[in-house]
């Protein structure tokens, strides 16, 4: 209904002026600043894939009838890890693994606690929904600003991650009646961690030209979609997702 000239005429509020903010080219992949930031972001990705591998194997011990399928997923994660390690080598960067370990610690601890208590739902929410949704969004936002080598690798990875997200969705959907409460609690406990983790690396991500708000928004879209697929209603989801924004 509205018109182009309408907004243009309202010059005080015109969005047009933002044009300059657009695409200022790719980052300088060889700069020290870029490599420094990349050493942490890349480490997180490598650690994330390693955690994913371990987590899928662990979940397999809780649902033995699915162990084969989960082992298959786990293997893919190791393959991704190798791909991302190659990306660092390609740029001549050494991944800062100690940083990545401490970065993942809170989520890692929550997963281990749930695993020890035999809570499949919580484990799946953390790994197959939260982490996968975040990875997918982050990879999508990274791809347009990645170096050509990493771009190719990441494009391949992202396709796999959808199947993992889908795995978690399907299981939780099939069991929703029994797992609803646990899922909501797990959401409350873990979603705020994702935001805190994102904030920790927002500066590094910005050096890679990945915007914090974009990352959060894209993650929440993916997460919201997963919850819709699992069977939650719009209001329930908005309430759940808000834990990431105001928690």
């Amino acid at each position: 209904m509205a018109t182009v000239e309408a907004a243009a005429a309202t010059s005080a509020a015109s969005p047009v002026s933002g044009g300059a903010a657009e695409a200022c080219g790719l980052p300088d992949f060889s700069s020290a600043t870029y490599k420094d930031a990349y050493s942490r972001i890349n480490a997180i990705v490598i650690e994330g894939e390693q955690e994913a591998h371990d987590n899928y194997i662990a979940i397999g011990t809780l649902i033995p009838e699915q162990a084969d399928e989960l082992t298959k997923l786990a293997r893919m994660e190791l393959k991704h890890m190798k791909g991302f390690t190659a990306c660092a080598n390609n740029l001549g960067v050494v991944a800062d693994m100690p940083f990545a370990k401490s970065f993942f610690a809170p989520l890692h601890d929550n997963f281990q606690k749930a695993l020890a208590e035999g809570k499949v739902t919580t484990c799946l929410l953390i790994q197959a929904i939260l982490i996968e949704a975040f990875a997918i969004s982050a990879y999508h936002i990274y791809i347009p600003v990645a170096d050509p080598f990493a771009r190719k690798i990441t494009e391949g990875v992202v396709k796999d991650e959808y199947t993992h997200l889908n795995y978690g969705q399907e299981w939780l959907k099939a069991n929703l009646d029994n797992v609803r409460e646990e899922l909501e609690q797990a959401n409350r406990d873990n979603l705020p961690l994702v935001r805190k983790m994102l904030e920790q690396v927002a500066g590094d991500a910005a050096v890679l030209q990945m915007d914090k708000e974009d990352l959060m928004a894209d993650f929440l879209s993916s997460y919201q979609e997963a919850l819709i697929e699992i069977g939650f209603t719009g209001r329930e989801i908005a309430r759940m997702a808000a834990a990431a924004l105001v928690g």
Partner: protein, 348 residues
């Protein structure tokens, strides 16, 4: 299935609405939180045409508010994400409402068809401008005579004449026959081209055009600073406020100056939805932006294509076609008499 992408008129209204709808966390959130929040499919409705045909639709709130206009990247993402949600929800034709289509065009989002993993299919979206232009023309044709203005001799000023809706209105009124078209727009060159293509019309500045016009069609939003010298206007003067947001009534209030909300239609029966209340319609159960109605009409007519798209592509044939469909399915353009009745009605 049709879709409507809308948004609240201000951040404050949005928070109130969020509270009413049970989205308490959003109601309590600050603007930064709203910036990162994903779009929401808030309502599904079934709409029955006067012909008896039923269609299903969904309302998507882009979780955009005008306060975000200055945040270029945010505004852009809000629009694309809402479109992505519409497409993923399986909606065949979706209208871009309010600032959504303004942002889409101004930021040239046509080149951004890929949002994350999703490739946007432009065929599934419409600006709704064809129907809006047709409705505005109906509003001129119906309400001018009601005020004693004879269109055959009247001077009709179109403010924003070279735009998508404005140029369509000019062509339609030319065919209908009016005394004279007064063409007003900010940029001179497109205006000259319009005048050449029409083969008539007089190019004037806004200040020159207003005192001469019997009818003024506004399809440009008004700068905050704009002041209208109502004393210099002709009386009676019909003003159709077809811009967005609609704020002409406060600027042109005077005896003999009749301001009508432009591009608004009323449906033949109530639609059981909540969302039009955010658009501040007098009768939110029946009234809506004509652009939204276009998505419904295209779905009723099973025209699953981007009927209104790009700039200055609106033909008279398309306006006639959507106009016939509009009447057939039970829409009519908002009239001055509706507004007078609404003003007299006790507020609820």
């Amino acid at each position: 299935m049709f879709g409507l992408i809308g948004h609240s008129t201000s951040f404050e209204d949005a928070r109130i609405k969020a509270r009413e709808l049970g989205y308490d966390e959003y109601a309590d959130g600050d603007l930064d939180m709203w910036c990162a929040a994903p779009p929401q499919l808030v309502e599904r409705v079934t709409v029955t045409s006067r012909t008896g045909k039923q269609i299903q639709g969904a309302y998507i709130d882009s979780v955009f508010v005008p306060e975000m206009l200055r945040r270029f990247k945010t505004a852009k993402r809000k629009v694309l994400k809402a479109m992505e949600l519409a497409q993923k929800s399986g909606i065949t034709i979706t209208a871009l409402g309010g600032f959504t289509s303004i942002i889409f065009e101004d930021m040239n989002l046509l080149k951004e068809e890929r949002v994350s993993a999703v490739e946007l299919d432009w065929q599934r979206f419409t600006t709704g401008n064809t129907h809006t232009a047709w409705v505005i023309c109906q509003q001129v044709e119906t309400n001018a005579p009601a005020l004693g203005i004879d269109l055959a001799s009247a001077k009709v000023a179109v403010v924003g004449a070279s735009g998508d809706i404005g140029s369509a209105v000019c062509r339609y009124l030319q065919r209908r026959g009016v005394g004279e078209l007064l063409l007003v727009a900010r940029r001179p060159q497109p205006l000259v081209e319009l005048q050449e293509s029409l083969g008539e019309g007089r190019i004037l500045s806004l200040e020159e055009a207003l005192p001469e016009a019997d009818v003024v069609v506004w399809v440009a939003s008004l700068p905050q600073s704009l002041e209208i010298d109502t004393a210099s206007l002709r009386k009676p003067c019909l003003m159709i406020d077809g811009g967005y947001p609609k704020n002409l009534d406060s600027k042109a209030a005077a005896e003999g100056v009749h301001v009508l909300k432009g591009g608004i239609v009323e449906f033949w029966q109530d639609i059981g939805w909540q969302m039009m209340e955010v658009a501040e319609m007098a009768k939110p159960q029946r009234q809506m932006f004509a652009c939204f109605a276009e998505a419904m009409l295209l779905d009723f007519e099973e025209i699953h294509t981007n009927f209104s798209w790009g700039r200055n592509n609106i033909t008279l044939a398309a306006m006639d076609r959507i106009g016939e469909a509009s009447l057939r399915h039970g829409f009519r353009a908002l009239a001055l008499s509706d507004q007078a009745a609404a003003a007299l009605a006790p507020s609820t």
